[in-house]
Amino acid sequence: MTLRQKMLLMLALTVMGVVAAVGWTGSVRVRHVFEAIDRQQTDMLVGQFQREFNQRASDTADAVRRMANSDVLQRIAFDLSNGGDSARYLTVALPLAQEYRLEYLELVAHDGSIISSLQWTARFGYKEPAIAAAGKPAFLKQEDLPDGTSQIGLFAARAVSGSDPPLYVVGGRQLGAEFLRDFPVPAGTQLLIYRNVSGPFDAHNFAGSNEGLAAADHYRALVDDARSNGNKVERVVYLTRRDEDSMSVTAIPLKAASGDVLAVLVVANSQRSMVEVQRHIRDIAFGIAGLGIIFAVLASLWIAARISRPIEELARAAGQVAAGDWETRVDIRSLDEVGDLARSFNNMTRQLAEQRERLVQTERVAAWRELARRLAHELKNPLMPLQITVENMVRAKKLPKKQFDEVFNESTTTLEEEIENLKTIVGRFSDFSKLPKPQVVEMDAREAVRRVVKLYGPALEEKHIELGTSITAEPLLIMGDSELLHRALSNLVLNAMDAMPEGGTLTVSAVRAKQTARISVADTGTGLTPEECERLFTPYYTTKQHGTGLGLAIVQSVITDHNGKITVESVEDGGARFVIELPLAGTAEA
């Protein structure tokens, strides 16, 4: 990833992060505000419900009290106390309830048996335990109805004034849809009452607005929890999968005097407004983030012109330097840190070029010195005998002819030998300088190895050197010059033989290693120091007393001309191992 891309990404992420943080904070804040409003609204509705509940309780108790004091009931009580037939009053509850606007009404004899029931006329004669609450404040009561359902009502019980034995009135009003209908419920809020709490959940037990009843089935878990634990339960209920159709629902259990839960008041506030505001904030955040990204792109372009472009030029120039172009320079366009960096880069490349020049000069001088030293050393040896021989011949001129002839013959022989020696030395130098270009053909590297092993086998035996070979069975086809490779391998074997004057083991192997033919020549001689390993292939470097230092240089030159590679390593148990890797045919670079 380029610096420009990184800067673009960083700027975009920064902008998006900031926008996301602001959006999230706003959204959370909005949610908290709406939750607070929901709570206030719920508390307000619950408070209002409580007030209406108390008012209705008071009205119910008052209606029952007035009825208990009425002349009609006092006459009925008098009639019954004088042996009157209670059957005559089977349906008297209906007109009385209409007169006192009660929805539930029962006249109950002193023994608790019902004389007349408005809500379930057929229950006459059955017991009504609610008379135990006669004279007490109004109470919640679940009333069973003939159709098998139950209703919740606010009831009050009272004995008819002056009745002896007492005749009781148990009257009540429904706590259902009618009761809720009078509530000023804000838009988006539902107020429901769940009745008949004893059985399993049934959405038909809800009373309230039609809108609320349509969603009643979704409040099952909430109502069940409120019924089971008797405490207020708050939860968010999703009517559909869409967030805006979620409701913040509070279920408040309504309890009888005994503490039993008789009904559950459900206040549900729509979260549509909150979700819409949150969505609005999110849309704004997305818009700002989009604009931020565009801004980041433009800003990065501008910054690139100011910052990243010089850095990119520096990076490109550094790459060119690495590729060997030491003359690369960058333009200095500013006076800031980037300009200083460019200036330093130019100084650095300039100094590197100068140092390289000096190094080349130094190496060239060193090479010449080494060559001179080597030449001096090589030529010095034959010159000394020549000088001595010439001096002998000069001194022999004074000797008798016979002796002179002997000395002369001996001296000329010596001169010829030393001159031949000089020619050999000069020839080697000449060979190194005139190493021929390899004439490559497809050949099997194993054959070159076998040829060398076969050639030097007898000589190895004479020097008590044991030969070990490891040549793979599969062909190692390479593109090579067999003569030059033979010469190189011969050099390595001869070096090995020189390294083991007291005998040892020579191991020659030829194997396939990935896409190369790997030939190794290992001896068990005195081995090499790390410094020797490093300099061994340098021309004119030798570890031998009478070596020219050109053998391994020639080997390296041959292997390099075959696109191969030669390395040397010291073996742990002593000795050295030369490893040649030559590309197999078809894989070698052209």
Binding site: D85, S86, A87, R88, L90, W120, T121, A122, R123, F124, G125, Y126, P146, D147, G148
Partner: protein
């Protein structure tokens, strides 16, 4: 002295005689006027059938003392051990359109009746009916010793339809109009049984009892119905009430299938029923608590069937099994069954609930699939054997009564009731409140007002 006194005494009661004469004149029936009657039920269908009774006649009628008496048939004779009956048609009887009544028209009318079975009525007791000369011959597969009495039932009234499709008969009134919910029937001057006293009858149907009573109180009608549960109230209000003998049986029937396939379950349900509460409270001590298909006065053995509630035994018979929701339906063919019947059904459901049955009362008119049905069955027969026959037919029992003595009837009835598919609860009377204008109104043995014999006091 004694003679003067006697003469004085004779003259003394002359003013009294003068005072009495208008009273005597008032009690004598007068022709003319319109009788106004209001009912809840269908005027052409039983058990109400007020118009049907006025327009049509039956071959026989039942007397107050029991037994059949001649009507459109002047005599009858059974043959082949009551397998064949021959009824001689009264000569000189004409339909209201002037067509003479013949044995063929009678046979055709009776065949029509059997071709259109009426709800609550059993199958026709004969196999074939045909006119043979002046007589009509009935042939049945089983002996039908009560056929003369059965033919007195209003279902078997002789009717034909005129060219407009209107029903016409040979009765004392004929239909002359229908306006504003009131059916107008005019006196048939040529009726074989004599012209009725009233010139016309205005029959207003499908009126609630409350409206009927209101109309009676303001003089808008002359005759209204009094349901049993309001009979005491009517008496307390000093209405002129005519009540029949028990003619309606309130009974609970159980479908012997499903949960009630077991007789023990049916018996448990029967034992759970509290008849006393129905009698004392819902029907305001009117009628007769019963466990029999015949009233005590008619059968004489009703007391042998126990009416006691035995809740413990009911629970024991039901066992611990949990019942699925059972439905108790209400037979609303009796028009005045709606409110009181619903209340009685709810009470029975409570009774059954105490015994462990989960029973819900079905909405009115939706008893098609009810396991239990509360029915109010009307009967017209006046002899025990015919009455039992009629009741068995109305409850869909296939058996027919063979014996005539009380012991045989009891055995017969016990056999039926032991199946526990019918649980008789209460015998109820029919009653009517009559306005001050009406004179000489009597009720038929089955509780219907005999309007042809009543007259209207025209002031």
């Amino acid at each position: 002295m004694f003679r003067r006194s006697a003469i004085s005494a004779q003259w003394a009661w002359l003013p009294l005689l003068c005072l009495t004469l208008p009273a005597v004149a008032r009690t004598r029936p007068h022709y003319g006027g319109t009788l106004r009657i209001e009912t809840q039920g269908d005027p052409w269908q039983m058990p109400d059938g007020t118009a049907r009774r006025l327009v049509l006649d039956t071959l026989t009628t039942v007397s107050d003392a029991g037994g059949a008496q001649p009507a459109l048939a002047i005599r009858w004779e059974s043959q082949s051990a009551a397998h064949r009956w021959e009824f001689w048609i009264r000569p000189g009887v004409y339909f209201q359109d002037g067509e003479a009544l013949t044995s063929d028209t009678v046979a055709a009318a009776l065949t029509n009746v059997c071709a259109r079975p009426v709800a609550g009525m059993g199958a026709c007791p004969w196999k074939t009916v045909r006119g043979v000369g002046p007589s009509v011959v009935f042939v049945s597969e089983a002996p039908e010793p009560d056929l003369p009495e059965l033919l007195a039932q209003t279902e078997f009234a002789i009717a034909r339809q005129d060219s407009t499709g209107a029903m016409i008969g040979t009765g004392p009134f004929r239909v002359t109009g229908f306006a504003n919910g009131a059916l107008t029937l005019t006196a048939n001057d040529d009726c074989w049984s004599g012209r009725p006293f009233a010139d016309a009858v205005e029959l207003r149907t499908r009126r609630t009892v409350r409206d009927q009573w209101l109309d009676l109180s303001v003089g808008k009608t002359d005759i209204v119905e009094v349901p049993p549960e309001l009979l005491r109230q009517a008496q307390q209000q000093h209405l002129n009430v005519l009540a029949s003998r028990p003619v309606d049986l309130l009974a609970l029937t159980m479908e012997p299938s499903g949960w009630f396939a077991s007789r023990e379950m049916r018996q448990a349900a029967a034992l759970a029923v509290d008849r006393t509460a129905l009698y004392n409270v819902i029907f305001q001590k009117q009628g007769e608590v019963t466990a029999s298909l015949l009233p005590q006065a008619l059968g004489g053995y009703s007391f042998l069937f126990s009416t006691e509630r035995d809740l413990d035994r009911a629970r024991a018979l039901r066992g611990g099994a949990t019942t699925s929701a059972l439905t108790l339906g209400l037979d609303t063919s009796a028009a005045d069954m709606s409110a009181t019947g619903q209340l009685a059904a709810e009470r029975l459901a409570l009774n059954l609930h105490e015994a462990g049955f989960n029973v819900q009362v079905a909405a009115l008119g939706s008893h098609a699939k009810a396991e239990l049905l509360l029915r109010r069955v009307h009967f017209e027969a006046s002899s025990p054997q015919a009455a039992l026959d009629e009741m068995l037919a109305r409850f869909g029992q296939n058996s027919s009564v063979s014996g005539t003595d009380a012991a045989s009837l009891w055995q017969e009835e016990r056999g039926v009731l032991n199946t526990e598919t019918v649980v008789p609860l209460l015998w109820l009377s029919r009653a009517w409140a009559v306005g001050e204008r009406v004179r000489d109104l009597r009720l038929s043995p089955d509780g219907a007002p005999l309007l042809a014999g009543a007259s209207v006091e025209v002031r």
